[in-house]
């Protein structure tokens, strides 16, 4: 089964927009669906960890190239 992944480009957006956009976008995703988010805000990694912790969604993968973090988040509930 191919999982369709939503791309969300938040490069250039600053706190709290990347997290707000992620939460808003995730509302349209079914449970088990994934979002691939790109962000350049230096606080993004810390905010994402807190958000995952709070919302119980799961981080599938994360990598950073230069100042951009690319994270894949899976919706759990």
């Amino acid at each position: 089964v191919e999982v369709k992944m939503i791309q969300l480009d938040c490069r250039g957006l600053i706190c709290p927009l990347p997290i707000v956009r992620l939460a808003q976008r995730l509302a349209d995703v079914a449970i088990g669906g994934q979002i691939c988010i790109l962000a350049s805000d230096p606080a993004f990694r810390a905010d994402l960890d807190a958000w995952l912790d709070k919302t119980k969604n799961v981080l599938r993968s994360i990598k950073s190239v230069d100042d951009v973090v690319e994270a894949v988040v899976e919706k759990r509930r």
Binding site: G12, P16, L17, I19, V20, A23
Partner: protein
């Protein structure tokens, strides 16, 4: 009634009392677990304070929390439209309030660096350059993320602000302080801005 019967009755009574107490505690603990909310009491009319309270509200909503914002006194300025429709039955003093109170965030002053209204213009320019939302944009984001808006019915009455003067926010209602205290009681965080 024998002594043994009396003892068993009192034991049954005590068990029943304990059961009732445990039941009440269980409901309370379940309530606490579901109390994942934030209530923000916005009384200030300074642009940066309202801005910060909206940033916090939208972030908390993005974290999946149930967020309630209560606007009262100067805080109501942020919810006003730039142009209101015709208003009726205002007293002279209420009209004066209407003239001097900012109509919406574009007219609100900053606590510092206001420079007779130039400060907020520069601030909005800087926010736009960094693609960061201003108060009006944050109000839209707050609506989208499900923040609940409440206005103080007492402020509206005393200051003579009418519904037609407020932005068309779908989930906005008039409430009193008892209701706000009740809402705040449903969450772990209450902030006074």
């Amino acid at each position: 009634m024998t002594v043994a019967e009396a003892a068993s009755v009192s034991l049954a009574d005590r068990v029943a009392a304990l059961e009732a107490e445990v039941g009440e505690l269980v409901t309370r603990v379940e309530g606490i677990a579901g109390h994942d909310g934030m209530s923000i009491f916005v009384i200030s009319g300074e642009l940066e304070r309202v801005h910060a309270s909206l940033l916090l509200a939208t972030s908390a909503a993005a974290m999946g929390m149930n967020v309630h914002m209560f606007f009262t006194f100067w805080g109501t300025s942020a919810l006003k439209k730039r142009r209101s429709g015709r208003t009726r039955n205002k007293s002279f003093l209420q009209r004066m309030f209407g003239w001097f109170m900012p109509r919406g965030s574009r007219k609100m002053a900053m606590a510092r660096f206001n420079f007779f209204g130039l400060g907020p213009i520069f601030l909005r320019y800087m926010l736009r350059r960094h693609k960061s939302p201003d108060v009006d944009a944050l109000l839209d984001i707050a609506v989208e993320t499900g923040v609940h808006f409440h206005v103080c019915s007492m402020s509206m009455e005393v200051m003579g602000i009418q519904r037609e003067e407020l932005r068309d926010i779908p989930n906005l209602d008039y409430i009193g302080l008892a209701k706000f205290v009740g809402l705040a009681d449903g969450g772990r965080h209450t902030l006074f801005v």
